[in-house]
Subunit: 88 residues, 4 copies
DNA sequence: CACTGGAAAATGCCGC
DNA sequence: GCGGCATTTTCCAGTG
C-alpha cells in the first residue's frame, strides 16, 4: 500500500462495501420481480400490458388525464396540419 | 363474457400487488444508497469519483475475462476461417 | 503480429471497419434526432408527449386499439377483484 | 380555442416528419449492419465473437483513461478527506 | 432551470 | 416458440 491514510482508507472501504451490499440486494429484488412477471406470463397474462398497468397506477389519475389530453391535442394538430385550417 | 373472470381478476390483483411491493422495497434501498453517498460526501469524499470507483469495480471482473488481450479475441474470431478466407 | 493469415486478417479488419463506420453514422443520426427534440422543446413542445406521438404513429391503429382495450380489461379486473363477483 | 393553432400544428407536423425520417435512416443503417454480420458469418466468422471484438474496441479507449490503475482512482477519491478522516 | 450522466425499463434479436 | 442477451430508449437525480 502506498499513499492512503489508514483511517481514510478504512472509511473508503466501508463506504464502498455498504454501497455494493445494497446494490446486491437491489439486484436480487429486481430478479424476483422478473420472476413474478414470468410466472404471470405462464398464467396467461400479457406481460407488456401488465407492465403498463403498473406504470399507469404509479402516476396519479389527474396527471394521467392531462397527458392523455395533450397527446390527443398533438395528434389532432398533426392530422389537421396543411389540410384544413379548421375553426379554432 | 366481458373482461376477466373473478379468479383471473384476483390473480391479476395479486400479481400487481406483489410487484408493487417489490418496487417499493427497491425504492427504499435506493434511498438508502443515496444517503450513504451523502454521508460520504459529508466526510469529504468526492461523490462523483466514488461512483466511478463502484463502477470500475463492477466492470473489473468482466473485463479481465473478456479482454485477455485483444489479440486473443482476434485469434478466436478467426478460428475456422482460414479456408474460407482464401476463397475471398 | 503473430498468428493470423494475412487474408483472414485483412478480411476481419475490413468487416470491423465497415461495422464501426456504420455505427458511427448511426450515432450521428441519433445525435441529430436529439437536437430536433431539443429544438422542438425550445419551441414550446412537450418532449415527452412528442415521443409518445412518434410511438403511437409507429404502431398501426388496430393493434393500438387492442392494447388499449386489454389495458382497460386489466384495470377493471383489478378494481373489481375480491369485491363484487360481477355477472360474467 | 381548443388545440394548437394552425402554425403550431404545422410546426409540430414538421418536427414529427423530420424525426420519422431520421429514424427510418437509422433503421436502414441498422439493417445494413445486420447484413454485414451475416455476410461475415457466411465467410466463417463467429458472429458472437465478432460482436465482442467490436464491443471491446469500443470500451478500450474509455478504460485506458479511466482505469489507469485503480489505485489512482482511490487516491483521488481520498483527496481532501484526510482531515475529516481523523474526525471519524 | 437547463444539461449531463447514470440507472432502470423496454424492445428486438439471437440461438436453442 | 421461448428464454436469454444485447441494444436502445426512457427516466430521473445531481450539477453548473
Amino acid at each position: 500500500m502506498s499513499g492512503l491514510g489508514k483511517v481514510a482508507g478504512d472509511q473508503l472501504a466501508a463506504v464502498v462495501e455498504r454501497i455494493e451490499r445494497i446494490e446486491e440486494e437491489i439486484r436480487e429484488l429486481a430478479e424476483g420481480k422478473k420472476e413474478i412477471y414470468q410466472e404471470a406470463k405462464g398464467n396467461g397474462f400479457d406481460v407488456k400490458i401488465l407492465r403498463e398497468v403498473i406504470r399507469v397506477r404509479k402516476q396519479d389519475p389527474k396527471e394521467r388525464d392531462e397527458q392523455e389530453s395533450l397527446l390527443d391535442v398533438y395528434l389532432q394538430a398533426i392530422k389537421g396540419s396543411s389540410k384544413v385550417a379548421k375553426a379554432a
